[in-house]
């Protein structure tokens, strides 16, 4: 089978520009996000809430090392009807992030913009400008399944799946430049798209989120602590 020969001009005018553009967009993204984002302010009360929740959990888990009187005193301190921190925290009026609060809105908007604009605008532009090129080839054979991933925008049935199209090359660069950003910008950078995406996933998945309604967490912890049977382990 004769090998496919690529025009050197594709290297100069498609392959390299995509790498360079993706890289500089990342850098730009980093600095713009530095400019727009103000540091997340955590309220002192939120910290205390988290600490008390943690403490209730620790008491449940490690309370078995304490004598019964000590355990009960601590449980009383946390759960007592009127004075216990957990009980009081359940009575507090709900705060949470108010979707109507304009400052919250802009914060959310900024975050979304930082993610969406590069994705849509740059991705679309690259797709439009550089579409339809076969840019490079991965140096190992791949199965047919990879065609959808590596040859977006080039629908040739007979093309070997090791070839990479320009649109796919853009995505590969976008996700693969993380270590280079770390090299250039240091480890705490906001340039990386894939990291932002991971953050979003983690946000929806994680259980303890300081912004989420703490009352439910307090209620759960309060119930669990009430249920705990003390058994001296030593």
């Amino acid at each position: 089978m004769t090998d496919l020969l690529l025009d050197p001009a594709i290297r100069t005018w498609v392959f390299l520009p995509i790498v360079v553009i993706t890289f500089f967009i990342g850098i730009l993204r980093h600095y713009v996000s530095l400019l727009l984002m103000n540091k997340k302010k955590v309220e002192l009360e939120n910290i205390a809430d988290g600490q008390y929740l943690l403490r209730a959990r620790l008491l449940r888990e490690n309370g078995r090392f304490l004598p019964k009187t000590s355990f009960n005193a601590r449980r009383q301190y946390l759960c007592a009807e009127e004075t216990g921190y957990l009980s009081k925290a359940q009575q507090r009026p709900a705060k949470g992030p108010n979707p109507m609060d304009p400052s919250q809105m802009t914060e959310m908007l900024k975050g979304n913009m930082m993610n969406m604009i590069p994705m849509i605008v740059v991705g679309g532009w690259i797709n439009w400008t550089f579409s339809g090129f076969v840019t490079t080839r991965v140096p190992f054979p791949l199965t047919l399944k990879f065609k959808a991933m590596l040859q977006r925008g080039v629908d040739l049935v007979s093309l070997d799946s090791a070839w990479v199209s320009s649109a796919s090359w853009y995505f590969l660069c976008m996700f693969g430049l993380r270590s280079i950003y770390t090299l250039v910008l240091g480890s705490e950078n906001a340039a990386d798209q894939s990291k932002a995406m991971e953050d979003q996933m983690a946000m929806t998945g994680s259980a303890v989120n300081p912004q989420a309604d703490p009352r439910a967490a307090f209620k759960g912890e309060w119930e669990a602590l009430q249920m705990t049977q003390h058994q001296f382990a030593l």
Binding site: I47, A48, Y52, L59, N62, G186, L234
Partner: protein, 308 residues
């Protein structure tokens, strides 16, 4: 044998003397990084590494330089090198003129020269500015301790613990303060908090055992024995817990009315003595000149305990 024991008790780099003035730049950098991250207090070595190795080409540290400067500054204050600390603070201040972290270093400098009032003023301002940062509050307690104001320090730690109540360091400090005030019950409470937070630290259990033993009474001695056993289980080389087991069992054997209990405690005490004898026999007399005397003492004790 001797070296093996030493290895057991001390990590390697404490016995093999390293000449910190002769190491390479990269090595010094790595060492400082390690110590900085683990929070090791080896101030004089840090100052040595800085002066002889790193400071010659500190520009090549890049951004790490500021963290190193902060570390060196604290180490310099700790080893009474006022000149070096001033130098570090000046450099940091030039780079970060409005930083709270640099301000904290300045306050620590005031502390080291015993200008406690100025230091407290700065800390108060810092706490007000950033109430979430617990290090400023902790420094304030440290100032009160240095001034010897125990009751004020207790009050300050109490306030601190109302918010950051999962800080074992603070609970341990409070425990020591209560001990100095001879308030054993409260000290026990503080230690129990530490146990809740870090249930695998044998020191907390051992100290709890000590305190319960000191409080006395059948129930407390029983707790003491359990705590000592727990401490020994976590850390089998803990000699003091072994002694604790011996003493508490001995106490139980001589006070309890229950015959079966008495016998059991007596046997456990003898077992503890055997274990101790075993430990001391492994130490050569050159290493610990006291060991012969202790051995004799233990043997004599074994006779009296066994006869009960």
């Amino acid at each position: 044998m001797f070296s093996k024991l030493i290895q057991e008790f001390f990590p390697r780099d404490m016995t093999t003397e390293t000449d910190w003035t002769q190491i390479s730049f990269e090595e010094g950098r790595q060492t400082l990084k390690k110590w900085r991250e683990c929070g090791v207090r080896r101030s004089e070595e840090v100052v040595e590494i800085w002066e002889h190795v790193i400071s010659r080409s500190s520009a090549s540290l890049g951004d790490e330089r500021w963290a190193v400067l902060e570390q060196v500054c604290i180490a310099a204050l700790d080893s009474a090198r006022v000149d070096l600390a001033q130098e570090c603070i000046d450099q940091l201040h030039a780079q970060f003129p409005k930083s709270n972290r640099v301000l904290k270093l300045k306050a620590m400098q005031f502390e080291s020269t015993e200008h406690y009032k100025n230091a407290l003023e700065i800390y108060d301002r810092l706490v007000e500015d950033d109430p979430n940062n617990n290090s400023y509050r902790k420094r304030r307690v440290a100032v009160l301790l240095a001034q010897g104001k125990r009751l004020d320090a207790i009050k300050a730690i109490n306030d601190y613990l109302k918010i950051f109540l999962n800080d074992p360091e603070a609970w341990l400090q409070l425990h020591e303060l209560f001990l100095q005030e001879n308030d054993i019950a409260k000290a026990v409470h503080c230690l129990e908090e530490c146990v809740l937070i870090q249930p695998l630290n044998s020191m907390y259990f051992r100290r709890l055992g000590d305190l319960r033993y000191t409080q006395g009474g059948a129930e407390n001695i029983d707790y003491a024995r359990r705590y000592y056993e727990r401490a020994l289980k976590i850390n089998p080389t803990d000699l003091r817990s072994q002694y604790g087991i011996l003493l508490s069992n001995n106490q139980i054997a001589s006070t309890t009315k229950n015959a079966a209990e008495k016998k059991k405690a007596g046997l456990a005490a003898v077992e503890a003595i055997d274990e101790l004898v075993n430990r001391y026999q492994k130490v050569s007399p050159q290493n610990n000149p006291e060991s012969d005397g202790i051995l004799n003492c233990l043997e004599a004790m074994k006779v009296t305990v066994g006869s009960k």
